[in-house]
C-alpha cells in the first residue's frame, strides 16, 4: 500500500446522477496517477473498493437529493468534510431529474414502474445546497475536467478556484466563432449560460442549450424577449430550453414559470 500519511484526503460521493461528473476525474488520463500521488483518494466507490473513514479534507459531491435516505446521507457527508464542493448540474441545480418538480411524481412512478408501491422517492429533486452548506459549486452537465482539476488543486492549496462566472458568449468570442444567433438566426442560450464548456455547441453549428446552467446575473427576461421577437421562438421552445438539465436553477426556474404564465395571459 502506498504511503498515505500526511496527504490530504479526498472523497467522492454519488447521489442521483449519471456518474458522468465523477467519470470526468477518471478521464484525466494524463493527470490521474500524479493526482493519486499527491492526495489520498480515500473514498471513491466507482474507482476503488478501499474505503478509508473520514474526516475528509475535500468531498466532491455528484448528484441530487431525491430520497429521504439521501437527505440524511448528505448531512453525514457534510459532517465529515472540511470542504464540500458540488460537481455538476445534478448536485448544483437538481439535474434533469428535477423535471419532476414541475409535475406529479406519483404519476411519473406509475408510468415507469408496474408496482409504484415498491419505489421510495421524494416529490422533488433538489440541489445539495438546499440541504447543507456548500463551499463551492462547479457547474456543468457534465463538468469540465480541466475546471475540476483546478477546483481540487485550489481547495487543497486553500486558495479560491479560478472558474470564470461569465457567459458562453465570451468563450465563443475567444474561440473566434461566428455567432450562430446573429449570423444564422439559431436560438442560443449562450448569453445567459455559465462559461466552462468552451462554447462547444456554437463551434459545432448549434445553439447553446444551457447545460452549464445560469451565469452570474443572467438577464433571462431579455433573452426570452429577443428569442420571441427576433427569432420567432414559441413558448414550448423557450420553456424546453430553460427547463432541461438546470431546470431548477433559480434564474431558469423563475423565467420558465414566468413564460408559462405569460402565455396563459395572452
Amino acid at each position: 500500500m502506498s504511503n498515505t500519511q500526511g496527504k490530504p484526503k479526498l472523497a467522492v460521493w454519488k447521489f442521483a446522477s449519471c456518474d458522468g461528473c465523477q467519470l470526468s476525474l477518471l478521464d484525466c488520463e494524463d493527470e490521474l496517477l500524479q493526482l493519486a500521488d499527491s492526495i489520498d483518494i480515500a473514498y471513491f466507490m466507482e474507482a476503488s473498493s478501499r474505503q478509508v473513514e473520514g474526516p475528509y479534507d475535500l468531498s466532491l459531491v455528484e448528484g441530487s437529493i431525491t430520497t429521504a435516505d439521501d437527505e440524511r446521507r448528505i448531512r453525514a457527508v457534510r459532517d465529515q468534510s472540511r470542504a464540500l464542493v458540488t460537481i455538476g448540474a445534478c448536485a448544483t441545480a437538481g439535474g434533469i431529474q428535477a423535471l419532476r418538480n414541475f409535475a406529479d411524481v406519483e404519476e411519473f412512478t406509475a408510468v415507469v414502474y408496474a408496482h409504484p408501491e415498491y419505489i421510495a422517492t421524494l416529490k422533488t429533486s433538489t440541489a445539495i445546497s438546499a440541504h447543507v452548506p456548500v463551499d463551492f459549486e462547479l457547474q456543468g452537465c457534465p463538468v469540465n475536467k480541466r475546471q475540476l482539476l483546478e477546483v481540487i488543486s485550489a481547495f487543497l492549496h486553500r486558495r479560491p478556484p479560478q472558474v470564470p462566472p461569465h457567459s458562453v458568449c465570451i468563450e465563443c468570442k475567444l474561440r473566434g466563432n461566428v455567432c450562430v444567433w446573429v449570423a444564422h438566426g439559431t436560438p442560443c442560450l449562450g448569453p445567459v449560460t455559465h462559461a466552462g464548456c468552451g462554447a462547444i455547441c456554437p463551434s459545432y453549428n448549434r445553439g447553446c442549450y444551457g447545460c452549464y446552467g445560469p451565469k452570474e446575473n443572467p438577464n433571462t427576461a431579455s433573452l426570452c424577449h429577443w428569442w420571441r421577437e427576433e427569432l420567432g421562438a414559441d413558448q414550448a421552445t423557450l420553456i424546453e430550453n430553460l427547463r432541461n438539465f438546470n431546470a431548477a436553477a433559480p434564474p431558469f426556474e423563475r423565467e420558465s414559470r414566468r413564460q408559462e404564465q405569460r402565455d396563459g395571459e395572452e
Binding site: 467519470l23 466507482e46 431525491t66 439535474g95
Partner: protein, 439 residues
Amino acid sequence: MAKSKTIKVDYLARVEGEGALHIRYDDSGVHDVKLKIFEPPRFFEAFMRGRDYLEAPDITARICGICPVAYQMSALHAMEHALGLVPTPELRALRRLIYCGEWIESHVLHIYMLHAPDFLGYDSAVAMAKDHPKIVQDGLQIKKAGNALVRLLGGREVHPINVRVGGFYRVPGTTELETLREQLQQARALAEDTVRWTASLPFPQFERADGDQYEFVALSHPDEYPMNEGRIVSTQGLNIDAQEYEQYFREEHVEYSNALHSVLEQRGAYMVGPMARYNLNFDRLAPRVQRLAEEIGFPPFCANPFQSIVVRSLEVLHAFDEALRIIDDYRPPSEPFVSGTIRAATGCAATEAPRGLLYHRYSVDDAGKITAARIVPPTSQNQKTIEEDLRLMLPQFMHLPEARLRARCEQAIRNYDPCISCSTHFLQLHLQRGAGALG
C-alpha cells in the same frame, strides 16, 4: 439442521451506480440471491413526454455518463425509424466511428480500472499502478485515444453535443480525422498488448452445466460486427427485428430492486453484452482480431463469464481497426444531416451499447413532441443472469474463506460491467452466512 449463512455487500465498488448483493445459503445449497439496485429512480421515460423529438438524444445521454453515445444512437435510430429518415452511408460511417470511440473508452475503463484489480488482488487501478505502472499507464493511453475520437466527433467525451436526429450538427473535414490516425495507431498497438495481457490473467474456472447454459442475445448484421444495426438473434434460434422486441421480451418489477428485470417470454433469463456479441458474430470481427484470438488460443465461443475481460479487449482491438478503416475510407457527407416531414408516428430501435443491447421506442405527435418513451438498458437485461450466475457458481467456491468468497462474488458481478445508473429504472451485494433477516 444446516446453519444458514449470508454474504452481504452493502455498496458494490467499481461498478457504475449504486447496488448491493445479498446471498443466503447453507451446506445444502444457495437459497436466495438478490442483486439490489438502490440507485434512486430518475423517471426518464415519464419526463420525456412532451419534449421535442430533437431533444431525445441530448436527454437520454444523461442516463449514463459512461455510455452516453449508446443512448444517443438508440434514440436517433428510433426517431429516424418513426419519421422515415434514412441517413446517407457517409453519415452512417461517422456514427460507427463515434460508437467505436465509446466502445474503446468504456471497455478500457472497465478492463483496467474496474475489473483487472479483481484478478490481481488490488482494490483499485491506482493501487495496481504502484506495482504495475506500465500496464496502468498503457490502459490510460488507450482510453485517452477512445475519448479523443468521441471528443472530435461529439464535441466532448461525456454527453457529446454533436449528434442529431438525421445525422450530425457538423461533420468533420478529412484533415480533422487524419489528425487522429497516429494516436489511434499507437493506441491500437497497446490494445493488442492488452489482449495478450488479459488472456494471461488467472481465471476462476466456471462454466454452466447442460440445461443451465446461457442464451446469448445480440444484434447480428450480415456484413459487419454489430453496433448500430442488425437483427436481434440468440443462441437458441431467436431471429427478430427490433420492432418485434416487445413481443418477445418482457420487463418485470421486483420488490427489492429499482431496476426492472427483463426476461425472454417463456424462456427467462438471457445474456447481452460483449460475450453475446462475440459468440454470435465472431466471423465478422476484423480479420486481424480473429487471427490474434486464434494465435493466443482464445476460442471463438466463450462460455466462462470471468473471461469476458478478454472478449472486451478483443472488441477494443476491433473498434480500433474499424475506426482506422472508416478514417481511411472517409468522404465527408454532402449535408451534415437528413431531414424530413414531422408526422405522428412510433419508432423503435436497438443498438449495441458497450454493455449490450439497448432498446428505445418513442411515439411522437404531429408537432414532433414525444408522447411515449420506453427504454430497456443492457444491465436490466443481464440482472437476472447475474443472479443465476451467483447461484450456480457459489457451491463451487464455498470452500473459500469468507472475504475471498465475497470478493469472488463481486468479481462475478463485474463480469457484466453493470451500469446501475442506466438500469434504474434499475443494484445492492449482501452475501448471508448465519441466521438473520434480509436487509
